[in-house]
Subunit: 327 residues, 2 copies
């Protein structure tokens, strides 16, 4: 049994807990939280919650820590710290800062003789893997990534910060005609506005100025100004009834060319339709925890990404079994 620890028990931590339960070669050993441990109720019977700052005390009891903190402030500090004492997986998703995070984590993992695998999930993660495979097999062509329909936590939070807003949910929606054009190999050049629209469901305080709020949303730089945005004002009851899930998904599509003179066209598409973003992400992190354990057991150390992990390392079955049944 691979002994797993979870650091951070938000939506992602809960997703990892469920994934560990459903992988028969793994067991959850402990959850670490920055909140008061007595206030954190987890679902796995017999497993305890400990303060995050005591994590090193459990060095010999845990094979892999799955670090479920946030990318903005937590992971840049906590993953390197954990990597000195444990094999660790994280879902660091600030694309621009990956090289810096990689270097910091690698230094600590090398020092501790541990394996760290960063930026695991679906984007970065499964989408990145597919971009790489598609580029490797079709080096001449164009990549397209479409996200959604799904909830963007960052955009929902941005709306919540507007004065008079009680709660909000933002869906990123791919423009179907753009997706079809890419699928049909037309290799279009697409602006942000041509690829995605943004649908907002907003609950406001009694008597709030809806016109002002809608205007503030639609003109918000970076988040909404470059997109066609629709704002729907709904009641708190409607939000809780119709928008409580955290679905997401999307597609990576490569349209590429082969042939002596690049005269032949091919399209590769990888797509996800997820009822729960954090549960799926948690499930991906858990598969990579298996790989981290195996690599470290075979003597390797340092920071890796999904690009460095041979697929066979991710799955419980043996090499013989997967060659016989999945190849």
């Amino acid at each position: 049994m691979i002994r797993i620890g979870i650091a951070g028990y938000g939506n992602l931590g809960k997703g990892v807990e469920a994934a560990v339960k459903n992988n028969p070669d793994m067991e959850l050993v402990a959850v670490f939280s920055r909140r008061d441990p007595d206030s954190v109720k987890i679902r796995t019977e017999g497993v305890k919650v400990y303060p995050f700052d005591k994590i090193t005390d459990y060095k010999d009891d845990i094979d892999v820590i799955i670090n479920c903190g946030g990318s903005a402030k937590d992971l840049p500090e906590s993953t390197p710290a954990i990597a000195e004492n444990f094999n660790v997986i994280d879902s660091f998703d600030t694309h621009a800062r990956i090289p810096e995070h990689f270097a910091n984590v690698d230094a600590k993992a090398q020092k501790g003789n541990k394996i760290a695998i960063i930026s695991v999930g679906w984007d970065p993660g499964m989408f990145s893997l597919n971009r790489l495979y598609m580029n490797a097999v079709l080096p001449n062509g164009n990549d397209y990534t479409f996200w959604g329909k799904g909830v963007s936590q960052g955009h929902s939070d941005a709306i919540r910060r507007i004065e008079g807003v009680v709660d909000a949910r933002q869906y990123t929606v791919p423009v179907e005609s753009a997706v079809q054009s890419v699928r049909n190999g037309k290799n279009p050049t697409l602006t942000a506005r041509q690829k995605h629209t943004r649908e907002c469901y907003v609950v406001v305080e009694d008597g709030a100025d809806k016109q002002r709020i809608e205007n503030e949303i639609k003109t918000m730089p970076n988040y909404f100004a470059d997109y066609d945005t629709t704002v729907n004002f709904i009641s708190l009851e409607e939000l809780q009834r119709d928008h409580k899930g955290i679905p997401h998904g999307g597609s990576v599509i490569r349209s590429g060319f082969t042939g002596f003179d690049l005269e032949t066209k091919h399209t590769i598409e990888y797509s996800l339709k997820l009822e729960s973003n954090p549960e799926f992400t948690g499930s991906v992190l858990t598969a990579y925890a298996r790989a981290a354990y195996r690599l470290n057991t075979s003597g390797e150390c340092g920071c890796k990404t999904v690009f460095d992990i041979a697929p066979a390392q991710l799955i419980a079955q043996s090499g013989e079994e997967i060659r016989a049944h999945m190849l």
Copy 2:
């Protein structure tokens, strides 16, 4: 530059030749053929064709041989023989015999200190990889593979063996309602007939008994009897005009569950739309040749499959570049 040799110059060998031309870190060094070398005209200027039985003479001039023989009779003999002297890639696709082929190739590659990667292409190959990743991240669920619309060489050949048939082209076509049912997460149980139909375009001799030929096709065990098959008799001119391409493609779809009680549904789909099956397959083989070269250069040997190769090994760019731009 990675120095490539091609063994066998049929459609697949031609696809590999084009792929090597379009990968700037590779060069084609030689083509080996069992036909009279003078009768084999290749497209790459300045590259020679040699008899296959002289291949060992070029041991020091070639980094990787891409073996483009057929799975039925050629590859089981030729890949182990080549593996003793060269790094080698093949597209062995007789799924049931992969374990045996793996063992034979592994023994020779170990003996020669070379890397062999077998069963590379799209199925086996990219489809297998996706089945593995999907099963690793969603261990609870069901896989579905749909092929087509595309030309099945084996089924086309089976029709050509019928008395009175001049030429034939068989398309495997996925049943759209079955694909939609799987995409929508309905987890159906599907028979062969419910998943694919078979469309045949057949040219017959003057005065041939079309009724008998159609009946022989539709009742042919293994190939057609278990499918809804349509037979269209056309002229040789029509066949050459409308059916000269070798398109193929298909989808691997996994419908799986996460959540503490597996209450949450997800769908992952990988799909290919290929204008030329041999050119795409050749392009995949060429990417794995890069991996074989790198692994052997770093001291590894033995037989591998796509499951054993870390994605980063397949692409020309460095680890830093792919982390910065594709993750």
